[in-house]
């Protein structure tokens, strides 16, 4: 996959990736998803997204070659690769903040290294390709457990941990009302996981009927179309006996719809770092003393959100890139025991060669798409 400019991606031949560091591995990709996060790049909203880059931070693959310092991973291992590139040695990795590593991204200190995610996240070519270079191969990559479907495995590289961490950061107490903004893969997973932490009520908002229908069944929750509601915040207040939700989760991020001013300043003119509509709603819909958990991604400059209300209501904000490696052991258990069934989110299986159409389908939400997975030729036989 080769990025050529906003909304323009195609397949090109590139040289085989090489071992560049003794802890590198070269992985032959077997599955690679397109993510809501890729849309920020695809739309040209992330600074330092260079023409010629390969995207893709959610992938599984077979180890083809390893560097001299790699000890745990072996050639031939089928691995799932967390989207964060983490060294395992820095002060942040040691505190299990694997999404905030200090030895994987030279270009910015505010974000750790991420595969295929612009030079602002380290300048690594990603996994929407046949082969990919995987640094710190002994830290992140995890051998796919015996019997696990690769479709489930690829969802463990980002969507499942991100949804789970969104709920975890909500500090959900038994009986809490949890509102999730966004019924994309991440929001769907967050709604599902909110129950695991003891939520008493889970309410999801989106504008796409087919996704609302899906999340209602998949996460056994309430789902509402914000286009049909006059004022989302008043709606949440009313349905919580005028208290507000205990926890609000922003699973939308910079491409949010629903407020013309935010859309124009955040998405059309880039006067702010993405449209902050969902976060705005989350802050105003949570109760006094409540918690807002943010996993939706925004750009590196500023956003228009009601900070004054945050202070006056005594809200706690918790946010991060998911720390995939920290959560994997527990989440693998959940998948194996059937508590979570992530592959059910995959609606489209697209040959890697058709990546341009894949991006179009996911970004324009065509053909009732929830999660597309790209499959390279070598993994189709």
């Amino acid at each position: 996959m080769n990025y050529r400019g906003p909304k323009r991606v195609r397949i090109d031949h590139k040289p085989m990736p090489e071992i560049m560091h003794p802890q590198d591995a070269i992985v032959r990709v077997t599955r690679s998803c397109i993510c809501g996060s890729d849309l920020h790049l695809y739309n040209g909203n992330v600074p330092d997204t260079r023409v010629g880059m390969t995207f893709g931070h959610e992938f599984t693959g077979v180890v083809e070659e390893i560097g001299s310092e790699v000890q745990k991973l072996k050639v031939g291992d089928h691995v799932l690769v967390p989207f964060n590139i983490a060294c395992g040695k820095c002060a942040f990795c040691k505190q299990e903040l694997y999404g905030n590593c200090h030895e994987s991204n030279s270009q910015a200190t505010a974000v750790g290294g991420i595969f295929g995610y612009s030079h602002t996240a380290g300048g690594y070519d990603g996994g929407q390709a046949e082969y990919v270079r995987v640094p710190y191969a002994d830290v992140g990559p995890t051998v796919i457990p015996e019997g696990m479907d690769p479709d489930d495995a690829v969802m463990l590289t980002d969507v499942v941990p991100t949804g789970y961490q969104a709920a975890e950061m909500g500090g959900i107490q038994k009986g809490d009302t949890v509102v999730v903004f966004g019924a994309g893969p991440v929001g769907i997973m967050a709604a599902k996981c909110a129950w695991l932490f003891g939520a008493g009520r889970v309410i999801v908002f989106d504008q796409l009927e087919y996704r609302l229908e899906f999340v209602k069944n998949y996460a056994q929750c309430e789902a509402y179309n914000f286009r049909e509601i006059d004022d989302v915040v008043v709606f949440v207040k009313k349905t919580t006996d005028w208290m507000g939700a205990d926890v609000c989760i922003d699973a939308v991020g910079a491409e949010a719809a629903g407020n013309a001013m935010q859309t124009i300043t955040g998405r059309k003119t880039l006067l702010q770092a993405g449209s902050a509509t969902a976060l705005h709603w989350a802050i105003n819909a949570v109760k006094k003393g409540g918690i807002v958990s943010i996993v939706g991604i925004y750009g590196p400059t500023d956003n228009l959100v009601p900070i004054g209300n945050l202070v006056n209501k005594g809200i706690t904000i918790r946010a991060n890139q998911a720390s995939v490696k920290r959560l994997l052991p527990r989440l693998i258990e959940h998948v194996q025991s059937g508590v979570l069934n992530p592959k059910a989110l995959i609606t489209h299986r697209i040959p890697l060669e058709e990546v341009s159409d894949g991006y179009r389908i996911f970004s324009a939400k065509l053909d009732n798409c929830i999660k597309p997975v790209l499959i390279p030729p070598s993994a189709r036989i």
Partner: protein, 160 residues
């Protein structure tokens, strides 16, 4: 103004109400407070720096590993180098980078032509999928663009 380091052990009441369990980052962070010691950890081996890697001026060095996807080049590369003189805290960093991204798109098209390749922009934009799954939407869009161009054309012609 000169500032001397403060010895907090001499401050009356220092730390008497400290409560390590009151940690809003729990359970996302297994607190060790190692970062209080500064940039002191045993670093991984350094990846040889044999391409141009721009690094944020909020850190002292290039990280132990780095991506080699697309080193800065051409006019966009010059703009990017300029941007990296400014910190992540500054518009002087991000706005030039966005500008460089746009310049880079034009460079990409020029490169394609130099390499004897005519970029098929409609295919790159996935219009095949749009045609298959959203034909009415696409036709509507085309009709609107067509109508606007016709009106603009007529207006311009009238002026002349």
């Amino acid at each position: 103004m000169e500032n001397k380091p403060v010895d907090y052990n001499l401050i009356k009441g220092w730390g008497i109400d400290a409560d390590p369990k009151n940690d809003p980052t729990y359970p996302m962070k297994h607190r060790t407070n190692e970062e209080q010691k500064g940039y002191t950890w045993d670093r991984p081996t350094q990846q040889p720096i044999n391409i141009e890697v721009l690094h944020s001026n909020e850190r002292p060095n290039v990280t132990a590993v780095f991506g080699t996807s697309t080193p800065p080049s051409g006019l966009s590369g010059m703009i990017r180098r300029y941007a990296f003189q400014y910190s992540e805290n500054s518009y002087g960093h991000w706005l030039p980078l966005l500008l460089a991204d746009r310049v880079n798109v034009v460079e990409g098209i020029v490169d394609d032509f130099i390499n004897g390749k005519v970029p098929n922009i409609l295919a790159e934009k996935g219009y095949k999928a749009e045609w298959k799954h959203n034909r009415t939407g696409l036709l509507q869009k085309a009709a609107i663009v067509g109508a606007i161009s016709t009106v603009a054309f007529l207006l311009l012609r009238k002026k002349n």
